[in-house]
Structure formats: C-alpha cells, structure tokens
C-alpha cells in the first residue's frame, strides 16, 4: 500500500483544469451583470438607446473575458506541484517563474476552502503552511484549485494520517442550531447595524434617491418627540445589526464540527456557501482561551479559541476566525470543549478552580474608575466657574454617568481576576467587556516578566506575565499579591525563578 502511494505521489501534478472554466464562467457572470447595469445607467442618464450602448460595451466585455481565460489558462499550464517523500514542491508563475519547496516535516497546517462555484464542481482550494506567519510567501503555498478528493489526499498525507476512513475521528463538538441566538450579541451586530444603514444610503445614492431618503427620514423622525426618535433609530439599528449578525453566523458556522483526528490533529469544519476546513496539529497547540463578551457572559455563553504557534493573530475578518475552535455556545459546553481540546480530564478553564485576588486589586480598579470620572469633571467644573454654566452641567452629569458605569465595572473587573494551576496548565482570567480565561501549557512558558509600578509596590502587588511562542505571545496574571504571584510562577515552571527569590522557598 505504502509503496504504491509513494510511487504515485512522486509524480508532478497539475491543478484541476476546471479551474479555468470556473474563472471564465465567473468572469462572464461578473462582467455581464456589471456591464449590463452600467449600460442601463448610461443609457438612462444620457438618453441613448440601450442597444447602442450595449453595442459599444459588448466587445469590451468579450475582450476582458478572453484576457481572463488566456491568463488563467497560462497559469494552469505553468503550475505544477509534487509531493515527494520529504518535500512538497510547487512551480508556478507565468512571466516570473517561482519555485517553492516546503520540507514535509515542517508542514503544520493544511487548510481547505471552497467557494460556491468550487463546491458545485467538487473542487477546493488548499493552503499548506509551516505554521509560521513570518513571511507568508516562503512559509505557505496555495493550490488554487484541485479536486475535492485530491485536497483530502494532500491533507491526510501531509498531516501524517493514513488514507483510512473517518471512523477513528473523535467528534469534540457539533453545531447546535440554538447557538444562532447568541450571534446578535456579538460586536458584529453593532458594526453591521451602522454598516447596513450606510449601505442603504449608498444604494439610494446610486439611483439618485439619497436626498429623498434623507429628507423623508428626517421629516419622519422630526414629527416624533425626541425620545421616541432616538428610540426608533436605536431599535432599527439594533434590528438590522441583529439580522446581519444572524446571517453572518449562519454563513460562517453552518455545518460546524470540531474533530480530533487519528494523528492528533484538531480539525474545524464550517461554512454555508464557502466551506472551510482548518487543521491544527497538536504540536502547535500551547493552550486554549475561553472568551466571553459582556453580553454573552450575561447569557451564559462563551467561545473557545486555540492558543497555537504560528496562527495569524492580528489579522481581522476571515483570518481571525482561524483560531476559533468553538463559536459562542453555552459556557458549560465551552469549558468542556476546552478540556477535551487539551486532553485534560477536568476543565482547566473552569471558573470554580480559580483563585481570586486580594482586595488591593479591587481598590486599584475603583481608584481608576474614580479618576476617569472626577479628573475631567474637575477640569470642566473649574472652566465652568470661569466661563459658562453649561460646562458645570456637563461636569456633574459626566461625573454621575462615569461613576455609575465605572464603579460597578471596576468591581466586576476585580471579580473576574483569577489564576490557578490545573495539571499541565497555567490558568489566568481577566477582563470585563471581554473576559478571557487562558489556559497555557506550563511547558510552553519560555520566560517571565514581573512588572510592578510604584502604586503596585505600595500595595504589595505585581503583574506576572508569562511569555510564550504562541497566540498573543504574552499572557498576564494582573495585580496578584507579590509573594503569591512569585510562588505561583515557581510552581508553574519549577527551578527557574526560585534562584532569584529571597528568601529561597523550600524546594
């Protein structure tokens, strides 16, 4: 079996030829629709007949489609790849020839995605990487596109799995349709709400209606009392945002499934129109993070992210979903999934195992909240006494609102502080609007940073930061009692910090 595999996989292969057909078809569709709408707008504005405008446009469209076809055909003929015993090689480039080669033992990720057209043809795009995001050109290569079966073959072979069926896969989590209702509480809801309104306006503008829409909206809102008008805007924005977030959730997370495969690879599959399959080898995994936004926390929901080396951290949109192992789901399940992801019997992110921080940490937070409220208020009040009464009113209302929100937020932030050691994992929790519980492999800690401001020193607190090669590269335990924090660091990574402690702890 293996001999046959090696022999067949040694050959140079081409991408699937249907790629050219798909590119061309997409181009025909796109230029057709946009060309036709351009023609109708032009004919409407200048009063020319639609037929004569189209007569001018059609040759252009044909030219673009032809150029696209030739370009993609050239790319197809000049792209080859080969999977040999120790390397994956790819030759590509029409004018500038590029030759890439990845050592097989360095390959850590094989991500498969398929847009609607690719799916209909039973094809997929494959992105293969070494798990380092240092220089994307050197550390990853993309096959756009190959047949679905070939994509699966590559994934299984590259991630060290036999060509066996999926019987030995262990399902860690599957989509529950009820999770959809957590979606409107995400940040996307707010962004989409305002985005949709902007989109509506730009569509209206395209047809020359913008002024009308604005006037109509303005007149409508003006006829209402102010409070009602504000309420209408907020409710409409909220509803639009919520619907948008629901749609986004459904398209992104439809058919979601998290598996652990035989060779110890975690695999996330999801997507309604465009399907994604993201694989993560366990050797890249340094821990998990449970994230709860304030809204989700109130509803008892949480999502689980991977803390892994070489995952895109700063990038947004589609990329940032790459590290998500479980979308917002009931918190209990999230902790359970976190536990099974890291192969732990008890969940390392379970809130009940966390050790809280001393009240000095709470007082610091209360001080910050008070400062944020009172410093601007004092400045405004002084200016108000000198200049105008209006500033005085702004000052006291600011102070009231800021204290009203700030003090409870400070207490909440304090309650969310916590740390623990759970088996192989160091656990730390912090945050209010975004509460994050990270469980980091103690073996994955590659250094400590202990920072202490003058104010912390007076209260005997420190902020202990573990540096690591994965995820955000640094994870902190905030405002922990000095001796407790140091003892914690000593227990997490034995034999490192002890030599710098005074007096030396008994070992």
């Amino acid at each position: 079996m293996t001999a046959v595999l090696t022999r067949t996989s040694d050959q140079w292969r081409r991408l699937d030829w249907r790629t050219i057909a798909i590119t061309t078809a997409t181009l025909v569709g796109f230029t057709g629709v946009s060309g036709f709408s351009l023609a109708s707008v032009v004919s409407w504005i200048f009063g020319w007949s639609l037929a004569s405008v189209l007569a001018w446009l059609v040759p252009g469209v044909v030219l673009i489609v032809a150029a696209g076809f030739v370009g993609d055909w050239l790319r197809w003929t000049r792209t080859r790849y080969r999977l040999s015993a120790d390397r994956l090689e790819m030759h590509t480039g029409v004018f500038v020839r590029k030759q890439r080669s990845l050592p097989r033992d360095r390959i850590r990720s094989v991500d498969i995605s398929a847009g609607i057209m690719l799916r209909l043809c039973g094809m997929a795009k494959v992105e293969i990487g070494t798990g380092e995001h240092v220089d994307k050109d050197k550390t990853s290569l993309e096959l756009d596109a190959v047949s679905r079966a070939e994509a699966d073959r590559l994934r299984r072979e590259l991630l060290g799995q036999g060509p066996a069926g999926e019987s030995d896969d262990q399902v860690l989590a599957e989509l529950d349709r009820r999770w959809v209702w957590y979606a409107p509480l995400s940040v996307e809801a707010f962004v989409l709400g305002s985005g949709a309104f902007g989109g509506l306006l730009s569509v209206a503008e395209l047809f020359g209606f913008e002024a009308d829409v604005l006037t109509w909206t303005y007149n409508f809102l003006d006829s209402m009392p102010l409070a009602v008008a504000i309420l209408i805007v907020v409710v409409v924005g909220g509803v639009v945002g919520a619907v948008g977030a629901l749609l986004l959730f459904v398209t992104t997370w439809w058919d979601y499934r998290l598996d652990r495969e035989s060779a110890g690879t975690l695999r996330v599959r999801r997507g309604l129109m465009t399907t994604h399959s993201v694989s993560l080898t366990e050797e890249r995994l340094r821990g998990v993070q449970v994230v709860e936004t304030l809204g989700h926390r109130l509803l008892g929901a949480a999502k689980v992210d991977a803390v892994a080396t070489g995952l895109a951290e700063e990038e947004h949109g589609e990329e940032s979903d790459h590290k998500t192992l479980l979308p917002n789901a009931p918190a209990e399940l999230a902790h359970q999934v976190a536990a099974s992801v890291v192969n732990a019997a008890t969940s390392p992110t379970d809130p009940s195992i966390l050790c809280g921080h001393v009240t000095a940490a709470r007082n610091r937070r209360l001080t910050w909240a008070t400062m944020i409220a009172l410093v601007p208020a004092t400045v405004l009040a002084v200016l108000g006494l000198l200049l105008t009464d209006v500033l005085l009113h702004i000052a006291w209302s600011w102070a009231l609102v800021a204290l009203g929100i700030g003090l409870p937020a400070a207490v909440d932030a304090y309650r969310n502080l916590g740390h623990a050691i759970s088996g192989r994992y160091l656990v730390s929790r912090h945050g209010g609007l975004w509460r994050k519980t990270v469980a980091l492999q103690r073996d994955g800690v590659i250094g400590w940073t202990i920072s202490q401001s003058v104010f912390q020193r007076r209260k005997g607190l420190v902020t202990l930061t573990a540096t690591t090669s994965a995820g955000r590269k640094r994870y902190s335990v905030y405002d922990v009692e000095e001796h407790k924090g140091l003892a914690f660091a000593d227990t997490c990574v034995p034999g490192l910090i002890a030599q710098f402690l005074d007096p030396q702890p008994p070992s």
Partner: protein
Amino acid sequence: MTTQATPIRLRPPGNRVDQRAIPWWRWQLVLTAATLAVLLVVPGIFIPPARFWLVLAAIVVVVIAVPLAVLLPLWWYRVHRWEVTGTAVYTRTGYFFQESRIAPMSRIQTVDTERGPLEQRFGLATLIITTASSAGAVTVKGLDGEVAAELAHRLADITKLIPQDAT
C-alpha cells in the same frame, strides 16, 4: 497558603551595568538636546521675526536638558541590573514602572551584541537575548564590550549544551 513572617520577594539581580554607562547615557541626552536646540536656532538665524521665540524655545530646551543630563544617568545606573546564572538570564529596569525579566537558558534562541557609534567610544555594548516569543526578548544595555562579548560566547555555548526546546 504561605503566610510566614518574611514574605518571599524577587531579589535584585547581582550585577550593576558598567560605570561608563553613566557618561554614555549622559552624552546621549546631551546630543539629543543639542540637536533639538540647533534645529530651533538655525531657522531663527534666517527668520528674524520668529528669532526671539525660536531662541527662547532653544534656551528652554537647554535649561531642561542640563539637570536631566546630570541626574537621569545616575538614576538609571542605580535601577539597571542584570545577572546570568547557569540556568537563566535575569534583568531589572525602571523604578516607577519596574520590570524584571527572566529567560531560561534552555529557551534562548539567539544571543547578539550590538554596539552603536557612541557605545563604541565608551567601550560599551548591548546584549540582546531572544527567545521564541516576540514578547520575551531580554536586553542588557551598558555592558563593558569585553564582558558582553564573553557573555555572548558563554551563553551560546551553554545553549548548545542544554537540550534545545525552543518553543
């Protein structure tokens, strides 16, 4: 769990930086202030209406810079400390925001020394030790050039001996 009479603390690292770091830091401050003052005075020569204000600003820069150049390096000398043991590198900087960094030998990836033009004049060097975490680099400024070179060698040797487990 530990409620003994003497709570454990992090002791300061054993070594101060080289004494020549004081004049080095001082010259850095002097040169920065001088550049700023010159940048203010030169246009003042060519633009008579603005001359008064530009020269005044330059004087303010100098008046602020002189005490800073005298005192800050002394202060920095007191708060910068470092230590290298058989198993770890340990540094401490800052007072208002004190930061202590510890990197285990077994996780060290690269050891570099860096010498700027001014550092060369004073025979000093900066030691830069990186680990697999982009947030975990440890730097020691103001070391004697020889000491830094010898340390770099020693660290490179030790990290070769210890079984590597970089990430």
